[in-house]
């Protein structure tokens, strides 16, 4: 008996080490991809990378480009871990952006615009969640319908016109720096940190994993699965509202076609960050790295003046490669643990 417990202890520490290694490996893999991308940049444009100021500016450019989609990806990661999918994020951004930049809304000032964008995002998310939870629609279908409908409404509200933001505070968000760091990047950092805490340190996060990992078990443990599902889509909507303001600020305008195909980028980033599409497992940090990989690729192609077509092909290949690698690693690790 005593020998057995001793043996247990050694395996316990072993498995713990293995599990930590798994988390590290996953993020290390993505960091590795980032490093490779930077090296490619250095090799192709050595003259640019020789200039320290340019490098600094370029890093912030990449992070700024990643900021809005990064915020959306955090919300998307929660939805996917919770066993769902949100195809309507781009459309929610569009309607939130358009609604918050109408002449009427702009008359309430910056606070009114921000409030409007966030509330519109939350409300559309709630509608998604209620349709899925209580209307029992498949998430794919419900959010697909919302993706079409919300863009339609955004076009209706804006009259298919680009709505210019005349609000200096809103427009200033994109140009403000805090301690030399762009405010948009700070917002992204805050959202990622909050998302990490929410997922890993709160009951909300625990419920999310339970609901996505095994909804029946969660239900039979007394968790209100339906209500939680609604909250997850509302959270995603909130992130979209925030992203709408960030994008409006960057462009000093909003229009019905803004944030086109953001849903695909956000899903892809979450997936290559190690989030399981079937739910129950995922990380915020991984999702952030996923976003950074994509925006770095975009940047790399931009500084080399290459076409977006090639860029999209590379993106596709990276998604497939990342998922393949993860599947392989996950299988071998579970086998090690099972031993």
């Amino acid at each position: 008996m005593t020998t057995e417990t001793a043996a247990d202890k050694t395996t316990a520490t072993e498995t713990k080490a293995l599990r930590q290694t798994e988390g590290l490996l996953r993020n290390l893999g993505l960091v590795g991809v980032l490093v490779v991308l930077v090296i490619i940049g250095i090799v192709t444009r050595p003259e640019l990378y020789g200039d320290a100021t340019w490098v600094r500016t370029n890093v912030f450019t990449i992070l700024q480009q990643a900021s809005a989609i990064g915020v959306v990806t955090v919300g998307m990661t929660f939805v996917i871990i919770g066993g769902g999918i949100d195809l309507s994020v781009g459309a929610i951004i569009a309607i939130a952006g358009v609604w918050s930049t109408t002449v009427a809304t702009q008359s309430y000032g910056a606070a009114g615009m921000i409030f409007t964008a966030l509330v519109v995002g939350i409300v559309v998310g709630l509608i998604n969640g209620i349709l899925i939870s209580y209307g029992r629609l498949v998430p794919f279908i419900a959010t697909l319908a919302m993706m079409v409908a919300a863009r339609g409404l955004a076009a209706q509200i804006s009259g298919k016109q680009t709505q210019v933001s005349g609000n200096a505070t809103i427009n200033g968000i994109a140009t403000t720096k805090i301690l030399g760091i762009p405010l948009l990047v700070v917002i992204l950092a805050v959202v990622v940190a909050a998302g990490w805490v929410l997922l890993n340190r709160t009951t909300f996060g625990r419920r999310t994993v339970a609901v996505g990992g095994n909804p029946e078990a969660a239900r039979l443990a007394g968790i209100n699965v339906r209500r939680h599902t609604v909250l997850l889509y509302a959270l995603s909507g909130l992130c979209c509202g925030l992203a709408a303001i960030m994008l409006t600020s960057q462009a000093t305008s909003a229009q019905a076609a803004m944030a086109n195909l953001y849903e695909l980028d956000a899903i892809a980033a979450a997936i290559i960050g190690g989030t399981l599409l079937s739910g129950g497992r995922g990380t915020i940090v991984g999702a952030l790295f996923g976003v950074l990989v994509f925006s770095t690729i975009t940047n790399l192609f931009a500084i080399n003046n290459l076409s977006t077509e090639v860029q999209n092909m590379v993106k596709g290949a990276i998604i497939v490669a990342a998922v393949l690698v993860q599947q392989f690693r996950y299988r071998s690790l579970t086998q090690l643990l099972k031993r």
Binding site: T11, T15, K16, F204, N214, A217, L220, I223, L337, K338
Partner: protein, 599 residues
Amino acid sequence: MTTANARPPTPAQPTSATPPPDAALPLDAAPALDQAPALDAAPALDQTPALDAAPAPDPTPPPDPIPPPDPAPPPIHDGHPADPVNPDPDPGPENRPVVLQLTDVVKTFPGVRALDGVQLEVRAGEVHCLLGQNGAGKSTLIKVLAGVHLADEGSISWLGEPFAPTSPQAAMRAGIATIYQELDLVDELSVAENAFLGHEPHLLGFNRRRLMAYETKKILTRLGHPEIAARRLVRTLPAAGKQVVSMARALSHDARLIVMDEPSAVLAHDEVANLFRIIRELTAQGIAVIYISHRLEEIREIGDRVTVLKDGRTTAANLPARGTPTRDLVSRMTGRTIEYVFPQRTAGRQEHDQPLLEVADLTREGEFADVSLNVHKGEIVGIAGLVGSGRSELLETIFGARRADSGTVTVRGRRVTSVGAAVKAGIGMAPEERKSQALLLDEPVYRNMTLASFAGFAHVGFTNTAGEKAAAGAVADQLELRPRDVARPVRTLSGGNQQKVVVGRWLLGGTRLLLLDEPTRGVDVGARAELYQVIHDLAAGGVGVLLVSSEVPEVLGLSDRVLVMREGRMVHEAPAAELDEATVLDLVMAGSLLEGEPA
């Protein structure tokens, strides 16, 4: 169950032809059951009834080259069933050639010896019934015949040749068709497409739909159901019709042996009569049928001979289906087994004015009706019943996971109608399907244990992982969880330890009433005894327990009071001490013992 083929034979454990009833008792170190086989629940087994005890079939070497009577398609009886009342003008079953012979077949799974020396002899054109309790090995035996599992030891001969199918397709090709209880049909395909699924007649890759429809029509006519259209979607057929399609599929493969696993379970009474008519048609054509059912009266009506399994062994072979007294059949199925070693009950129910749980006239349409019961503090109440008797549905309804059509569930004076309310009122449930209904397999043990209570550990929404781990660790010690590491993913634990995690979840929540649905399913012998001890300890601590099990000895051995459920109704209630296994089994299987029987 899932682990299929190709397990190397276990190191030689020579199964003698006639194994002593309980060969090796002291199996492994299950703690807390030092007291020897104390309980001896079954008075029936010890004095083995006198009828021919030979467990092995007579080893008459079948010299006949065994051609089944007529390989050519028999004449089609159009329309009128060929006089089902007198089945055969041909020589009695004993003179027909043996088609299938199993000798000392053994199949082991990790921790379980599912088949431990099975003998079976099936003759052409007979209905051979397999009888045995849940866990006796019937399902495993079927799967060995169907090519799902490969036998570890022993020999199987089929039509005089050694037979070891490595895949379901191989078994099908050899002429053995299996009709499982949950019919494996594709709802969205037509009758003909289902009948010929996997071997559609084709020409250059194009399905010959008309030929297929024609052949299907012929087979359906042969089965006496020409009215079923070959083009009809299987989805639109009633259960009985689907069963006919399953049989048509068997015939489309030219099956010479059809194994039917509880075919009557899904059928209404008059549909059963029709099923029997079809079976008689098949046997008249020389096809052998292995028929599994828990209903003795059916076996008497349709069966020719009976083989009884218990604990993976043949306890009686080739009994005449009609002539054998019920008492003898039941006694062959029952008896204390090494799997059930129950701890001595230390404390009984604690009397209180008010029961912990009161269920009044609970009804769910089509599942169960007018169920009333109560559970007191510290009492263990067991529900015995077959799969499909409505017991799991009843438990889930009590827990609030299903909505009752009428009736009430009251826990300590409060009505319970939802899972949330049930958990708040102090009810916990360990559901039937551990993996799909209870566990987050990739999450660590402690998070699974605190799944119902983590909010209680949390401070303003922030989880308290350290506190959870400590509490889970304490419960793990109490339940002797192995390995004791609470940070390990639940997936890596054995079935018994996974079940401990589920039970531990409710201990952490301070549960007063525990609902256990098949608590020892998929749990090996040693862990079973530990779980029994856990359940007793809980009751001794004042927790009320309501448990459901299809294993009668388990219900009897664990419970203070036993309720018997059959077809959605409570048919009997008595203290466990006043019941024996045979009585309960008989009540569960439609009360044939109480009716007239051949003496």
